[in-house]
C-alpha cells in the first residue's frame, strides 16, 4: 500500500503540468500534418488581415459614392463597387473581423458551457448524467439552424444575439463528445490513484480528466467555427443577423440581391470570402483530427 502511494506521488511530481505537456505533444504531431498546417497558415493570414487590413484600405467601407455605383472589378476597385458605390474589397476586408469575431466567440462560449456539462455528466454519471443529457437531446432535436433561428426570433437580430444563438446551438455538440471521452477516461487506473490520494472532484476534473480529453475538444472546436461562420452568414443573409450597413458578408449578399443579376461581382466576392474562411477552418480541423485523433470520423 505504501509503495503504491509513493509511485503515484512520484508520477504526480513528474508531470508537474500535464496541460503543457499535452500541448507540446499535440503541437509536435500537428507540425508534421501538411493539411493542418495549410489550414492553420490560412487562418493566421485571415486573422492578420482582420487586424491590420482596415489600416491599409484607404476607402471608407460605409460611405456611399453615387458617382461610382455598380462598377465592375478594376484596378481602382479590385472587387468592383456595390449599389451605393462602396468599394466591395474594402468592405470585405472590414467584414473579416466581424466574421472571425462571431466564429471564435460563439464557439468559445458554446465550448466552455458544453465541456462543463459534458464533463459533469460523464464524471458524476447516474441521474446527473441522465438529466443533463436528456436536456442536450432536446436541443439536438431542433434541426440545423432552426434553433438559432428561434433564438434570434426571440432576442431580435443583431451580431451579439447571433453569437448567443450559435453558442447555444453548439453546446450539445460539445457536451456529447466530452461526456463520451470523460466516460472513457474516468475508468482509467490513474484516476483511481489520484482519488486515493485524496484529490477533490474539482481537481480530478480539471487537472486530470480535462487535459486528457483535449484532442477531441480541439478538433470539434475548429470544425465548429466553420459551421458557426456559415450559420452566422446565413442568419445575416436572412436579415436576422448583422444589419446593414455593417459590412458583414451575409448581409452584403442580402443587400446586393436586387442588383446582382446585372452585376454578378456583387454576389461573387462576398460569397468567395465566406468560402475561403470556412474552407480554412475545415482544412485545419481535418488536419488536426488526422493528427490528434485518428479514431474520430467526420
Amino acid at each position: 500500500m505504501a509503495e503504491t502511494t509513493v509511485n503515484a506521488s512520484t508520477q504526480e511530481t513528474k508531470r508537474i503540468n500535464p496541460q503543457i505537456e499535452n500541448m507540446k505533444t499535440m503541437w509536435r504531431k500537428l507540425k508534421t500534418n501538411r493539411i493542418a498546417m495549410a489550414g492553420g497558415i490560412l487562418i493566421l493570414f485571415f486573422i492578420v488581415v482582420s487586424i491590420i487590413g482596415p489600416y491599409f484600405t484607404s476607402l471608407d467601407p460605409n460611405a456611399p459614392d453615387v458617382s461610382s455605383r455598380l462598377q465592375g472589378p478594376s484596378s481602382e476597385h479590385w472587387f468592383g463597387t456595390d449599389h451605393h458605390g462602396r468599394d466591395i474589397f474594402t468592405r470585405i476586408i472590414h467584414g473579416m473581423s466581424i466574421t472571425l469575431y462571431i466564429g471564435f466567440s460563439s464557439v468559445a462560449i458554446g465550448m466552455v458551457v458544453g465541456v462543463l456539462i459534458g464533463i459533469i455528466a460523464g464524471y458524476y454519471g447516474k441521474r446527473t448524467d441522465a438529466i443533463l443529457m436528456r436536456i442536450m437531446d432536446v436541443f439536438l432535436a431542433f434541426p440545423g439552424i432552426l434553433l438559432a433561428l428561434g433564438i434570434v426570433a426571440v432576442l431580435g437580430g443583431s451580431i451579439n444575439n447571433v453569437i448567443i444563438a450559435i453558442a447555444i446551438f453548439s453546446i450539445p455538440v460539445f457536451a456529447r463528445i466530452v461526456r463520451g471521452s470523460t466516460l472513457a477516461v474516468r475508468k482509467l487506473e490513474y484516476i483511481d490513484a489520484v482519488r486515493a490520494l485524496g484529490a477533490s472532484d474539482f481537481r480530478i476534473i480539471f487537472r486530470h480528466i480535462l487535459p486528457n480529453i483535449l484532442s477531441p475538444i480541439i478538433v470539434q472546436a475548429t470544425l465548429r467555427i466553420a459551421t458557426a461562420v456559415l450559420t452566422a452568414s446565413g442568419l445575416s443573409f436572412l436579415g436576422l443577423g448583422a444589419q446593414p450597413p455593417t459590412p458583414e458578408w451575409g448581409a452584403m449578399l442580402a443587400a446586393g440581391r436586387n442588383y446582382m443579376w446585372e452585376h454578378p461581382h456583387i454576389a461573387l466576392f462576398p460569397g468567395l470570402a465566406i468560402v475561403a474562411v470556412v474552407l480554412a477552418f475545415n482544412l485545419f480541423g481535418d488536419g488536426v483530427r488526422d493528427a490528434l485523433d485518428p479514431k474520430i470520423k467526420s
Binding site: 437531446d137 432536446v138 432535436a141 434541426p143 440545423g144 454576389a267 465566406i274 470556412v278 470520423k297 467526420s298
Partner: protein, 306 residues
C-alpha cells in the same frame, strides 16, 4: 426488434416533452408582453387585457403549458397574428413543400455522396480521389444560399436553361435540390470513403480476396454493406441539417415552403406562426431520427445474422 422499437419509442417521449417546453417558453421569453405583441402595437390597455384573457396568459404557467400541449396534439396551434387564420392551416401545405425539398435533396446527396465515396475509396490516392475530396471540401465550405444565387446566375439567367424560382415542375426542382443537397453529398462522400477504407483493411475482406472472390463482388457485397452502417446515421443527421437549410434555400428560390414562412413570420413578429412552425419541424426531425435508429438496427441485425 419489436421490443427495441417500443423501447426507442418510449425514449422519444422525454425529448418530445422537452421540445414542447422549449417552444412554449420561446413565446414567454420574448422581451415585452406577448398579449401586447399579438394585439398589435396600437392596441390600448383594455384591448391588451382582453387579449391576455383570451390567450389565458393570466393562468399559471403549468395550466398554460398543459393547454398548449393538448391543443397542439389536436392540431390547434393558435391563430396567426397577421391573417387571423389558424396556424395549422397556414402551415399545412407549406410543410409538405419543405418535406419534399428536403426529401429530394437527401436522395440526391445520398446518390452522389455514395458514388463519389465509393469511387474515392476504391481508387485511393489517385487523381480522381483527390479531385473528389477537394470538391467535397468545397461543397462542405460553401454557404448554400450563395451556391443557390450562383446557380441562378449561371444556369437560370446566363444560359436560360432553368427557371429562376418557384416550386412544382421538375425543372423548378433541380436548382433548389442541388443547392440544398450539395453539402450533404460532400459529407456523405467523405463518410463513405473513410468508412470503406476502414472496412477494406479488415481481415474478412482480405480473406474474401484470398479466396479468389471477384474484386467487384468484394467491394459491393462485403465491404460496402458494412461500410454503410455509419453512413446511415449521417444521413439521418443530414436530414435535420437539410430541414434547417431549407430556410435559406426557400428564401433564395422564392419557394413557398415552411422555412421561408418562418423567416417572414419572424420579420412580421407573428410569433404563433414561428412557434407552430418550429414545433412542427422539430417533431418531424424527432420522427426521422426514430426511423433512422430503427433502420440502423435492422441493417446491423441483418449483417449479424448473415
Amino acid at each position: 426488434m419489436l421490443v427495441y422499437t417500443i423501447r426507442r419509442l418510449f425514449q422519444t417521449i422525454p425529448v418530445i416533452i422537452g421540445v414542447t417546453l422549449v417552444v412554449f417558453f420561446m413565446m414567454h421569453l420574448i422581451p415585452g408582453d406577448p398579449a401586447q405583441i399579438i394585439a398589435g402595437e396600437r392596441a390600448d390597455e383594455a384591448q391588451v387585457e382582453q387579449m391576455r384573457d383570451r390567450l389565458g396568459l393570466n393562468d399559471p404557467y403549468y395550466v398554460q403549458y398543459t393547454r398548449f400541449v393538448t391543443d397542439a396534439a389536436q392540431g390547434d396551434l393558435g391563430n396567426s397574428v397577421r391573417s387571423g387564420r389558424a396556424v395549422s392551416s397556414e402551415i399545412g401545405a407549406r410543410f409538405w413543400i419543405t418535406v419534399e425539398l428536403a426529401f429530394y435533396s437527401t436522395l440526391l446527396s445520398i446518390f452522389i455522396g455514395l458514388i463519389a465515396g465509393i469511387v474515392s475509396a476504391t481508387r485511393r490516392n489517385s487523381f480522381l480521389d483527390m479531385f473528389i475530396m477537394i470538391f467535397a471540401l468545397f461543397g462542405l465550405s460553401m454557404p448554400n444560399f450563395w451556391l443557390g444565387l450562383m446557380l441562378i446566375q449561371y444556369f437560370a439567367l446566363n444560359f436560360d436553361w432553368l427557371p429562376v424560382s418557384g416550386w412544382g415542375s421538375p425543372q423548378q426542382l433541380l436548382l433548389p435540390v442541388i443547392t440544398l443537397g450539395t453539402a450533404g453529398a460532400a459529407i456523405i462522400a467523405r463518410m463513405t470513403r473513410s468508412s470503406m477504407l476502414e472496412v477494406i483493411h479488415q481481415d474478412y475482406i482480405r480473406t474474401a480476396r484470398a479466396k479468389g472472390v471477384k474484386e467487384r463482388y468484394v467491394i459491393y457485397k462485403h465491404a460496402l454493406r458494412n461500410a454503410l452502417i455509419p453512413v446511415v446515421t449521417v444521413v439521418g443527421l443530414q436530414f435535420g441539417v437539410l430541414l434547417g437549410g431549407a430556410v435559406l434555400t426557400e428564401t433564395v428560390f422564392a419557394i413557398n415552403g415552411l422555412g421561408r414562412f418562418v423567416v417572414e413570420a419572424i420579420r412580421m413578429r407573428d410569433f404563433p406562426i414561428v412557434q407552430g412552425s418550429v414545433l412542427v419541424l422539430a417533431m418531424l426531425f424527432v420522427f426521422v431520427n426514430f426511423l433512422v435508429d430503427i433502420s440502423y438496427r435492422v441493417l446491423n441485425k441483418r449483417i449479424e445474422l448473415d
